[in-house]
């Protein structure tokens, strides 16, 4: 009953970026792969000033007066964010408006259910085309071939954001050849289906991976993958000259929100963070097996003797930007961040053709990117379910704000129904909408990555840290115990603005 009323209001457009009615002032640019890669043809569009106003949860008169009912199996920042929006939890199997599902449900159940018009879910059906390491490699390699045929080698070279990779055991022979061409090179082995750095190791001798040889009996791929078959791995050229800060290796996690693959609509959150290893970097042979040096996954670093649970090892992208600007100049940093953004979009374009688009779906990816000493970004992997469990207050604030922004974009409340697609929602910037998006920035496009200034929301206290099992925090208000003063956060803005002698824009960028 309830769902029917909602669905009737939704019918006109369920997904915000409705391809059928592109509103005139939006920066939608029909563009092919080359127009992004070339990135010269796109024109600057003037975005409405409304885009600059932070989305406020207190916007009057939402088009729907129904409470959103959500289902989820997890208790972390996502859960808190949904509760904070006033949504109600439901445990019905299919009786929900929004389901924050885990990938297992997607694999096992999604194909067998029918979704109502208004129902939304946080994964695409075959997201693994992007997030499984071997499939990503395959898709990008295919994309490179296509582009090379259609646009030439120069354009194809722009898709070179993955370090040379081979799927084992399938491409063992190819890999051996490549390995022999680069004597002394170091490669990294990653199991294709596992996350959090499980099963990762480094190799510098071919004998170390002889178990993945194709010609070993029983290893013939495709015919019979019995129990004795080796686990599928990809072997990837190890980036031996990562950019070091304070002598330590790091990679960058950025959040990418895809609301649709047809047309491809991509938002990137400007507030990513760097994850550091806790140990000084070294490429010495004796340290090859020390994953505390080489891996930056929190799941691995957690067990490092130097790890401190109270701090995590996360560094805001803003800090990285400041540091790099100081060392390498503003132009180099702009180029780097724009290149990172472009790599993200190119990776998505590589899977666009195979991805099953579905207007019920959106997906929040966690991209892992490594920067080398020449300031070239390398895409390490894409996570379909980035960890949204907070380990520290700092972590909580970051993720909670990001998830809130994500829900603002997805707009289940349908506040922006029928309005032009917004180039900026909270920390999310629209970077691709069936063509590269340019805001009213400049002649020289610069990424907004790392420009995040948190937008004041109602202050929150720490609610849930660590891994809490299901039902961990099923309380009503979630134990909000904000000091009375901190609640009055918003008036400060007004005070300080009117106090300043000049009308300084406090619009955070």
């Amino acid at each position: 009953m309830l769902s029917r009323t909602i669905s009737s209001t939704v019918r006109q457009s369920a997904a915000p970026p409705n391809p059928a009615t592109p509103p005139p002032p939006t920066p939608i640019l029909p563009g092919s792969a080359s127009s992004l890669a070339g990135s010269a043809a796109a024109t600057a569009t003037t975005s409405s000033p409304a885009a600059q106003t932070p989305p406020s949860t207190t916007q009057p008169a939402p088009p729907t007066n129904q409470t959103i009912r959500f289902r989820t199996g997890i208790r972390n920042t996502v859960y808190d964010a949904m509760r904070d929006r006033g949504w109600k939890e439901t445990d019905g199997e299919m009786d929900w408006d929004f389901f924050w599902a885990d990938v297992h449900w997607i694999h096992e159940t999604f194909d067998h259910v029918y979704l109502q018009e208004h129902q939304r879910i946080n994964h695409f059906r075959n997201h693994y085309e992007l997030t499984r390491k071997d499939l990503l490699v395959k898709n990008v390699k295919r994309m490179i071939k296509t582009i090379e045929k259609e646009h030439g080698k120069l354009e194809a070279a722009k898709f070179d954001f993955l370090s040379p990779s081979y799927v084992l055991p399938g491409e063992h022979a190819l890999f051996t050849e490549e390995f022999k061409r680069n004597p002394g090179s170091v490669w990294i082995m990653k199991p294709v289906g596992k996350a959090q750095g499980k099963g990762i190791f480094l190799v510098n001798k071919i004998s170390q991976i002889s178990g993945w040889r194709k010609d070993v009996k029983g290893n013939v791929r495709g015919e019979r993958e019995g129990d004795d078959a080796p686990e599928a791995y990809i072997v990837q050229r190890y980036v031996e000259n990562p950019l070091l800060i304070g002598g330590k290796k790091f990679d960058i996690r950025i959040y990418v929100l895809v609301t649709s693959y047809y047309p491809l609509t991509v938002y990137i959150h400007r507030n990513g963070f760097c994850r550091f290893s806790n140990t000084q970097f070294s490429m010495q042979a004796k340290d090859i097996s020390n994953l505390y040096i080489h891996a930056t996954n929190v799941a691995i670093q957690k067990h490092s003797p130097n790890y401190l649970s109270s701090r995590g090892c996360k560094w805001l992208l803003r800090n990285l930007k400041l540091y790099l600007t100081t060392r390498h100049g503003a132009d180099a940093v702009n180029e780097l961040f724009t290149e990172m953004e472009a790599s993200v979009v190119r990776s998505l374009m590589s899977v666009q053709k195979v991805m099953i688009n579905d207007k019920h779906c959106f997906e929040l990816y966690g991209y892992d990117i490594l920067i080398d000493q020449n300031l070239k970004p390398w895409l390490l992997e894409v996570n379909a379910s980035p960890s949204l469990t907070a380990e520290t207050q700092f972590d909580y604030n970051l993720k909670h704000a990001m998830v809130q922004d994500c829900f603002d974009v997805v707009d289940l409340e349908r506040r922006h129904l029928g309005k032009p697609i917004r180039p900026r929602v909270g920390g999310f910037d629209l970077v691709y909408n069936d063509g590269p998006v340019r805001h009213e920035r400049t002649s020289s496009y610069a990424s907004y990555l790392g420009c995040y200034q948190p937008i004041p929301r109602a202050p929150r206290q720490k609610k849930r840290f660590g891994k809490s099992a299901n039902g961990g925090g099923s309380g009503g208000s979630g134990g909000l115990d904000t000091p009375p003063l901190a609640r009055k956060g918003s008036p400060v803005v007004a005070i300080s603005v009117s106090d300043a002698a000049v009308g300084v824009s406090i619009e955070p960028r």
């Binding site: 304070g246 790091f250 000084q280 560094w315 503003a330 000091p483 406090i506």
Partner: protein
């Protein structure tokens, strides 16, 4: 060359009368021989003379001297850096029309502010001595508890191991002490962890200050009472009329709203404007760097330095005379090499203190990355005798010697005498291979400064400027001797304001700005604003503001000269923070509220987006004041 040198000097310090000029010039010329740039210049002249067709040495020298960014400019910079302009205090002249800013005061912290009654001076000196005596006592206690000698020669094997692993974090390191924050963010009400190895901290500092006591002279007691009314600083430092808000607007004219600022206008109104401004600023900065002109650079820094030029501009501002032909990195490495050797050879007790201190950064979300770098910097710092030499020059002026030095090495009054091993290594056990050189260090610790808890906070933002520990260390040590050591010194100095002065300055500004707020915080909330501000001041706002904001603030401090107006700017910024928070503070009802408003929400990791507002508020007090004056006139 000699002629050239002394010929150039008077141009710069023309305000001093001629006799002084000559002697100063002589002094500087003598001092020049110690710098590497001097010898490089000679070498350069030699080389160019040999290669030039004419054999006119004087002409070649003059040409090298006069080229843009050449030796002549370096010399000017050197003189500017060396000469703390010893202006005679213009007290009399000033008092006649104290409301109009005095022209000579334009670039100086009003020097009459630094004139102190001898009793007050003595009281502060006693406070400082007491503090350091306590610190020394703490040190011998730490030595006893840790069962370590003050200094120890490492064996060769240990030396080798140390050289290899020196700065990397080791698994056996104890986790950093304290809760999850930097000392500048610690709560006022909570007890400190008593177990941490520290000699003294900012609270001890403030306690020592509040214990300072001036015996009232006969007949003036009322007056003194009256001056101390409404102030948490027990001694009356206001020997001159307080600095007025209007005066500030004049003094810090560059901070006024008519000037464009990095940190504000580069975030500006429209993209076009922003870009244009950023580009203009960058071009100007580069041309200044090319010409290596110190005075222009400092004027440039007053409106903020673009992040990409900051390392070079700061180098120019802090150590331009060193920029000979060697690259700054090489120079830094040369300086640090002996320090590294000393570090490998000797293990000092204070090493443990400064490393523990440096490891605090692990608790911070912005600085944890630099833990190893910081540790290295602090270990350099503690054994760098250059610092001692700069803080306490060999020929002390007749006026009381600069802070800290007087009571460090020698036995302060009432202090516990250090064990006589100072500097000499007490060889533990039987070391067969007799340690070759017995290094006698004049002072303990070798840099002459007893480290206080949180000292490494000064070094943290510098890590954002330089990638390698050596360059960062050089910047840090210059900043320390010029500026930061004044922030944790009670003893008044003849040239620059120290902590008591800064606090007085802060209080007077806040009272002028909003006496009601000041009263409210004291009476209703029961907090001394100066107590809160002291924490910000002592740590130069590190950990209080976001890193970027700290660097922007330091830009301005450097721009206005570390010694006078620059350091006073810290007090202005503290008052600005208070004033911006006025509305919220007025609603506060207790210590806890004040802390929430004034401390916790400033933290960079806070989700409330405070830093955006701070960007303005640090500057908005001078701006407001500027407006006040323009209204008034």
């Amino acid at each position: 060359m000699e002629i050239l040198t002394s010929g150039k000097v008077p141009v710069v310090v023309k305000d001093v009368d001629s006799h002084d000029v000559r002697s100063t010039a002589r002094n500087i010329a003598r001092g020049l021989r110690d710098t590497s740039a001097f010898w490089e210049f000679k070498k350069l002249v030699q080389r160019e003379t040999l290669s030039s067709p004419t054999s006119d040495i004087a002409a070649v020298a003059a040409q090298i001297f006069n080229r843009s960014g050449g030796v002549g400019q370096l010399l000017q910079n050197h003189v500017r850096l060396r000469c703390h302009p010893p202006f005679p205090p213009t007290l009399g002249a000033h008092q006649q029309h104290w409301w109009t800013p005095h022209p000579t005061d334009r670039t100086l912290f009003r020097i009459d502010q630094l004139h102190l009654d001898s009793r007050v001076r003595r009281a502060l000196e006693t406070a400082q001595k007491g503090l350091l005596a306590g610190a020394r006592q703490a040190m011998s206690q730490v030595a006893m508890e840790m069962d370590l000698p003050l200094a120890r020669r490492r064996t060769r094997q240990e030396e080798a191991i140390f050289m290899q692993y020196a700065f990397a974090a080791r698994p056996d390191d104890a986790p950093p002490v304290g809760a999850a924050s930097l000392p500048s963010r610690a709560s006022l009400t909570k007890e400190r962890d008593p177990d941490r190895a520290c000699l003294y901290d900012d609270q001890h500092l403030m306690d020592a200050l509040s214990r300072a006591h001036v015996e009232p002279a006969a007949g003036t007691s009322h007056c003194a009472e009256f001056a101390r009314f409404w102030s948490s600083i027990p001694v009356d430092l206001s020997s001159a009329p307080p600095v007025l808000l209007e005066e500030l607007a004049y003094k810090y004219a560059e901070l006024g709203p008519l000037h464009e600022h990095i940190g504000m206008d580069d975030l500006g109104f429209t993209v076009q404007q922003t870009e244009k401004f950023a580009r203009a600023k960058a071009t100007l900065g580069e041309s200044i760097l090319a010409r290596r002109c110190l005075s222009r650079a400092s004027r440039f820094a007053r409106t903020g330095v673009p992040a990409s030029l900051r390392p070079q501009i700061w180098d120019l501002l802090l150590q331009s005379e060193l920029m000979g032909t060697a690259s700054p990195t090489e120079h830094a490495q040369n300086v640090c090499k002996p320090l590294k050797t000393a570090l490998a050879q000797h293990e000092l007790l204070v090493d443990h203190l400064v490393t523990a201190d440096a490891r605090q950064c692990a608790n911070d979300d912005a600085f944890f990355v630099f833990e190893d770098v910081l540790k290295e910097m602090m270990l350099f710092w503690i054994r760098d005798e250059w610092i001692d030499a700069r803080l306490c020059p060999a020929l002390p002026p007749p006026s009381p010697p600069p802070s800290l030095s007087s009571s460090n090495g020698c036995n302060g009054s009432g202090g516990v005498v250090l064990p006589p091993v100072t500097g000499r290594e007490s060889v533990p056990g039987a070391e067969a291979t007799a340690s070759p050189a017995v290094v006698v260090v004049k002072k303990y610790p070798p840099n002459g400064v007893l480290p206080f808890w949180g000292l490494s906070l000064y070094a943290m933002p510098v890590c954002f400027i330089h990638g390698d520990a050596e360059s960062a260390y050089l910047t840090f040590r210059e900043l320390y001797v010029r500026c930061f050591h004044n922030l944790h010194t009670l003893q008044p100095s003849a040239q620059t304001p120290t902590l008591p002065h800064l606090l007085t300055h802060f209080e007077s500004l806040l009272k002028q700005r909003s006496a009601r707020l000041f009263a409210h915080v004291i009476r209703v909330c029961g907090v001394q604003p100066a107590r809160l501000a002291a924490r910000w001041l002592v740590f130069a706002f590190v950990g209080v503001l976001d890193v970027e904001q700290v660097l922007l603030l330091w830009d301005r401090v450097l721009g206005f000269g570390c010694a006078g107006d620059g350091i006073a700017l810290f007090a202005v910024a503290a008052a600005a923070l208070f004033a911006t928070r006025g509305g919220l503070l007025m609603r506060a009802r207790g210590v806890k509220d004040v802390e929430i408003v004034a401390v916790s929400e400033f933290t960079p990791s806070g989700a409330s987006g405070e830093d955006v507002r701070l960007r303005m508020s640090t500057l908005s007090v001078p701006r407001k004041e500027f407006e006040t004056t323009s209204d008034g006139t």
